[in-house]
Symmetry: C2
Subunit: 197 residues, 2 copies
């Protein structure tokens, strides 16, 4: 009676340390039908990261070339490095009417919303700033001043929650994943989305 | 960081035979935290039904008295009988910030939406009119002309789907229940709802 629902762009943001990467990874493990938007970045690769899976790591020149060729849906400078979302995978998700996850920051999320009105924006909140700080310190990969800077940015980013569609408080990772799964399942049945077809 | 989300009025409609009563019953079994809005009706009780649980069965005079005293959130005549939603339970759900299920028809749903803007309207579609007809005939409780009349009303009711928030196609009862659960879980995290507080 209804056609297959249109493609769903699910943007997941959180301040760093908020847990969005863990959440995206678990969602992808549980749902092989989802696509994942691998971001382009000029920041150095961490030892645990895999090129093409976690990020596409490129030089600043390569990045600028992609921008000039119109290959990015959005891009921004965050903590001094460039991050961008390649258009190709998003267009594929729309064409094939699939769910695609975008693990991006607040600035990027706002640009995706402008460009793709059908996108669904989910903000993952840390349970508190204290917990966020503890998580950032727990990583052991950052210098004190980096942590301070990230916390100050996190405070600012959290002020954007009202511009998102959903807010999930990440007290428990399993429960947070269940909430994001529920949001995706519900959005597919939304009349607003079915009417647009 | 956020308060407990406000009460959620979940209206579940379907043409008769569409499966809404089975779905509501299963949801209530799985979620003792949900309230259920028991409707008032003047139609005769079926042998399997329990007063106060399935419906509150009253005479037409009693029904009219409740209307006159302003005790109903909405009421309507359907298939020649009066059906209404008592206000008390709804007000309790709002006050206690709980989820309440309303198993009501299209006319009632539209009136609930007017009165309670925070309500969420879910329309359960039968997989097809053929399936709906088979289900109605399978009940063995209705005369041929009753079935014909219900089918004709069902066709009209199905035209209302665009005025609902969500449409779920009831191909498989378990999957339909999972979708309604996902909708309720997602709605609780909606920024629009959290902003209204």
């Amino acid at each position: 009676m209804f056609e297959k629902p249109p493609g769903l762009l699910v943007v997941i943001s959180s301040p760093s340390g908020g847990g969005k990467t863990t959440i995206c990874r678990s969602l992808l493990q549980g749902h092989s039908e989802y696509l994942y938007s691998v971001s382009l970045t000029t920041r150095p690769r961490r030892p645990s990261e895999v090129t093409g899976k976690d990020y596409i790591f490129v030089s600043e020149k390569e990045f600028r070339d992609r921008v000039a060729r119109g290959g990015l849906a959005e891009w921004a400078k965050v903590y001094g490095y460039l991050y961008g979302t390649p258009k190709g995978r998003i267009e594929k998700a729309i064409k094939e009417r699939r769910v695609i996850l975008l693990d991006i920051d607040v600035q990027g999320a706002m640009r995706i919303r402008e460009k793709y009105h059908q996108s669904v924006l989910i903000f993952i909140f840390p349970p508190s700033l204290q917990v966020l700080e503890a998580r950032l310190r727990g990583r052991f990969t950052e210098k004190e001043e980096t942590i301070e800077r990230r916390l100050s940015i996190a405070r600012k980013e959290m002020g954007y929650w009202e511009r998102y569609d959903y807010v999930v408080i990440n007290e428990d990772v399993k429960e947070t994943i269940a909430s994001v799964e529920a949001i995706i399942k519900a959005e597919v049945s939304r009349v607003e989305r079915l009417k647009r077809g």
